[in-house]
Assembly symmetry: C2
């Protein structure tokens, strides 16, 4: 994967650490000035930029930037700016997409089809069992399980996906170097090894309350759909679900007893249009259609962005005769191979490759195996 140059990378860190510069402002600066380095230089002199941000851009906090660099220099750590072709397209698609992601683990997993599982920190025993059951089924069907590393439902979903030999992504409300809650440190280490920890906050950022709703939009934005297992009426999970719906993603909710306060949030979601589901298969079935539409949309977007030619047509077999798909199918055999290897074999970029694999997976030509690897089925 193409990493930014050291200068560009430092410029990005400077932008991300400037107080009062939100994702939207940073994205606008990037569009206007082309590179992060040019954006820093221009914004430092731009009267429209808040004074505190201009000060920080002119005289960055060297100690903080050095700490960021030390974190980034460790193996398996990466910074993926929104301008990078490695930035996951589903997340880029949302209006509030983070300006950059700090990733610990394999950033390739961000391109695999993800299903978010979220729910109450104080989940009931049956809520936790349901989280495990659905996470296992999603992982076994080749999906990445994405959640927020919180106690309760989140942790149970992450752990069950890993236990099933699958991949899981945890989106953090802290910097990528901190683990909250602390009792999930061992879990976080497993996730870094078999998935990815993702944060939009620079290293060292503590878990302030306002960070968690921001984290939730990333969970929803990375995922084809969001499943809420148990949630009270005033719950972060409802925020995640609402953001998912606003982003045009599917929202699923498990019903429960009318006497359980933790079913109330799910029932409200169902009344508001979320799909009531009883089994993981129902979620997977529903997402098949959505995944196909999203894959089409992503391909169009990649073509518009001028990265690589779009493979035209819908998810059926309309790619027949498309040289890109022919190249990819020639590169896949019955031994599962990872995205990196398939990219090397086919000469296709990772972004295009991911959406093409999704199309092939949905039409049943390719199967997603453990660890984000793919093999021929037919």
């Amino acid at each position: 994967m193409a990493n930014p140059t050291p200068i560009e990378s430092t410029a990005w860190l400077t932008l991300l650490r400037a107080p009062g510069l939100g994702p939207a402002s940073i994205r606008t600066l990037l569009e206007r000035h082309g590179s992060a380095a040019s954006a820093v230089t221009a914004a430092a002199k731009d009267a429209a930029v808040p004074q505190a941000a201009r000060d920080a851009l002119r005289t960055p906090d060297r100690a903080a930037l050095d700490a960021d660099r030390r974190w980034l220099d460790q193996p398996g750590h990466a910074l993926i700016p929104v301008t990078s072709s490695d930035y996951p397209a589903l997340l880029r698609d949302i209006p509030t997409a983070p300006a950059a992601l700090f990733v610990a683990g394999d950033p390739m997993h961000l391109w695999s089809p993800q299903i978010a599982i979220v729910g109450a920190r104080s989940a009931s025993a049956s809520g936790l069992a349901n989280a495990r059951q659905f996470a296992r089924a999603f992982a076994q069907a080749g999906n990445v399980v994405t959640s927020g590393l919180a106690e309760g439902v989140d942790g149970a979903a992450h752990a069950a996906a890993l236990d099933a030999g699958g991949v899981t992504i945890a989106v953090l409300g802290t910097g990528p170097d901190l683990v909250y809650p602390r009792q999930h440190r061992a879990l976080a280490a497993r996730i870094e090894e078999h998935g990815a920890l993702v944060s939009e906050f620079p290293p060292g950022t503590a878990g302030k309350p306002e960070n968690f709703p921001r984290r939730n939009r990333i969970i929803a934005g990375l995922s084809l759909g969001t499943l809420v297992i148990e949630a009270g009426l005033k719950s972060g999970s409802l925020i995640t679900a609402r953001l998912a719906a606003e982003q045009g993603r599917e929202v699923f909710a498990l019903p429960g007893s009318i006497h359980s306060p933790l079913a109330r949030g799910c029932h409200r979601l169902i009344r508001d249009g979320a799909l009531l589901v009883e089994s993981a298969d129902e979620v997977l079935e529903q997402l098949r259609g959505i995944g196909a539409r999203l894959a089409d949309h992503l391909r169009e977007q990649l073509a518009e962005d001028g990265r690589e030619p779009a493979a035209s047509g819908d998810a059926s077999a309309a790619h027949a005769g498309d040289p890109g798909y022919a190249r990819l199918l020639a590169a896949i055999d019955h031994t599962p191979a990872g995205l990196d290897e398939l990219a090397a074999r086919s000469g296709l970029g990772v972004a295009t490759l991911s959406s093409m694999l999704l199309v092939l997976e949905l039409e049943g030509s390719v199967v997603a195996a453990d660890g984000g690897r793919y093999a021929r089925l037919s």
Copy 2:
């Protein structure tokens, strides 16, 4: 209430007992020939009427008719043909309305706002508790609880409505003189005293399996809405709910655990558009609007049928200045009075009276007390 003449009543019994003459055929004959007596004479010679029916109309089963008469002659027993102004308008409104109802108990209750509670015979302990809780709340809010006298949810709902001092109606899949299941004989006796047993089947009719779906359409047809408490996927309650939806009535369902087979039916209903409810108040709130629309519709229908002038306008206070409403309001005071008494005081017919009382209740001028009695609120 106006009972049919003995001759007309015997003609009705003859029609109802003729094999192969369904409700629709009987209604057509009545429309064509004006009275049951004329319909019997004409249909006995009509080649379009099935041979078995013609035979039965020409030589009726005297023993059966005598048994019917003996049942009807007992106090509190009545036969209400669809042509009678006492036939409940909501039920008349459905395409498959029974040609006549056998009623044991007070037929006035058929005109009170009814909410159906149905569910599994093999309900769980919490299902039964929910049935009791909702039935009690509906009864306390002045509604009649209508169900099918079956084991499980039905029986729990009937008993709880009675225990709360309310009124309940049981629709039977047998003749009105039989109780199925037998262990509900004491319950049926209480219902006859504080509500009504209703059947479209003549006395002596055994509970054949095909009778129960037919019974279900009457439960749904009598009620403003139907609440399903617990139901398997192959359940009579789902039939009742579907009939209610087809009849344009509201369907409510309680969610439950995804691991409970008795929640499956409710979940399917919710996915098909039934309202997920957690409390009786939600049902009552929802039915307020529906009740107002139905009351309007009924008034229009009564006017079209040429019975009594319609009170024009919507359910707000559009009846202001309407002499019928003025008469009714003058007849109601703060001591609850039954429909019979209000009819006598106001000189209005029971049918008109019922729909007007519903309008007044919905606008908050009148309150429904226990036992189908009404009092002034404002």
